[in-house]
């Protein structure tokens, strides 16, 4: 049992969720899969007076393709993303990341919207979504706005969301011809969270790298792009030497975390090794 009492309300629509959220004020919390909120409430890290269950808003629980954009509803759970044929076909690394979150039972409950709203520094989705150039759509009773993923994760457990906003969907550009993606992680041996997790999307045109995005999670207080590595790779032939040289810059300009699992120095090393491995997989897939 959770150690304190609170109110529980069910929102059957987004509009109802907005009004319940505004009634509850700053002591309201949204419940989707509950796999972040409930553990936090057990520890009293989170003590909302009102829990608003949005899990039954079915419009937010679907994966659709809209032209060149794959739209993943915020309430889609990790197991559904990992098993989705559309995700596998159009944004493979997203499914790869979803399939290594937590364990099967956690993947059956946890949702993509809840995951990124929480912005855990060691979570898998932030790294892969940065590499996939995703857009987060958030709505409130005053309208809708699109947030580029590059602007979304701002600090430890902090995002660009403002009070009263609810993530409704994540939009991901479909990967085109000659583009490969990959997500891999070095998991904490006990918790399976990413000590370092790396998402890579890379495009090859006539043997040269013409586009590249690399997202790293787990290493710093929030996920970041390996910008220097991306710059070094752009225009290169992606030879073994090119990749080796570029990977040395994977954590450049970042202040990395130090904890029981890994020192900051070790994380710098892991970043370069994991980025190299992920690039090699993505390049192989780009070549097809």
């Amino acid at each position: 049992m959770i150690p304190y009492s609170f109110d529980y309300k069910v929102a059957d629509s987004l509009e109802e969720a907005f009004s319940l959220l505004s009634e509850a004020g700053e002591n309201g919390a949204l419940l989707a899969g509950g796999h972040t909120l409930i553990p936090a409430m057990k520890l009293r890290l989170s003590e909302p007076d009102t829990v608003i269950d949005i899990s039954k808003i079915s419009d937010l629980n679907q994966i659709t393709k809209d032209g060149d954009i794959l739209v993943v509803g915020a309430l889609t759970n990790h197991a559904t993303v990992a098993r989705s044929g559309d995700v596998m076909t159009y944004c493979r690394s997203l499914g790869e990341a979803a399939g290594v979150i937590g364990d099967p039972q956690v993947r059956n409950k946890g949702t993509i919207g809840g995951n990124i709203a929480h912005a855990d520094p060691a979570s898998d989705y932030p790294g892969v979504l940065l590499s996939l150039n995703a857009t987060v759509v958030a709505k409130s009773d005053s309208g809708s706005r699109s947030i580029a993923i590059d602007d979304f994760f701002t600090a430890l457990f902090e995002t660009a969301l403002t009070e009263g906003e609810i993530i409704t969907e994540i939009q991901i550009p479909v990967l085109g011809e000659g583009t490969g993606s990959a997500y891999i992680k070095f998991p904490n041996p006990a918790s399976r969270y990413a000590v370092v997790g790396v998402g890579v999307v890379i495009t090859l045109t006539d043997g040269k790298c013409t586009a590249c995005r690399i997202g790293i999670t787990g290493a710093a207080d929030h996920a970041f792009r390996a910008s220097v590595t991306e710059e070094v790779l752009l225009g290169s032939d992606l030879s073994t030497d090119d990749i080796e040289a570029a990977c040395q810059h994977a954590a450049e300009g970042q202040e990395l975390l130090s904890d029981l699992a890994a020192s900051a120095n070790y994380r710098v090393h892991l970043c370069s090794v994991m980025v190299k491995r992920a690039i090699n997989i993505a390049v192989e897939r780009a070549i097809g």
Partner: protein
Amino acid sequence: MKHSISMTVNGKEYSGEVEPRVLLVHFIRDHLGLTGTHIGCDTTQCGACTILMDGAAIKSCTVFAVQAEGAQITTIEGMASNGELHPLQEGFHEEHGLQCGFCTPGMIMTSVELLNQNPNPTEAEIRHGLEGNYCRCTGYHNIVKAVQYAASKQA
């Protein structure tokens, strides 16, 4: 404030009045008296409290009972039918898949969904599929054999 909830558990309708802070595992154990579902860690890690909710294996220590309103729940008590053990229960018996038995209900409920998704898993797929269930006695070897036993029996 208490909420009225009703759900189907092992094919039977149950209803009750609960505060929102009651976890599903406590509702199942304390209100319904179905104590086969165990509480191990209470932190979403060990998997002892795993049940099926609308066909999906979930950790019932990390769901409020009120969230299960209208759900179809299966617990370990719903596995045997007409006095016959379920193939997974039989597998754990035949392959000596348990020592203290505390983790076994959760292992079995997770394995139900595992075999529904993948009726003929490899050893590696079984080990990966049971990643969210801890056993502190067996070293997992006979648990894997128990799941293989059930897979071949159900084939």
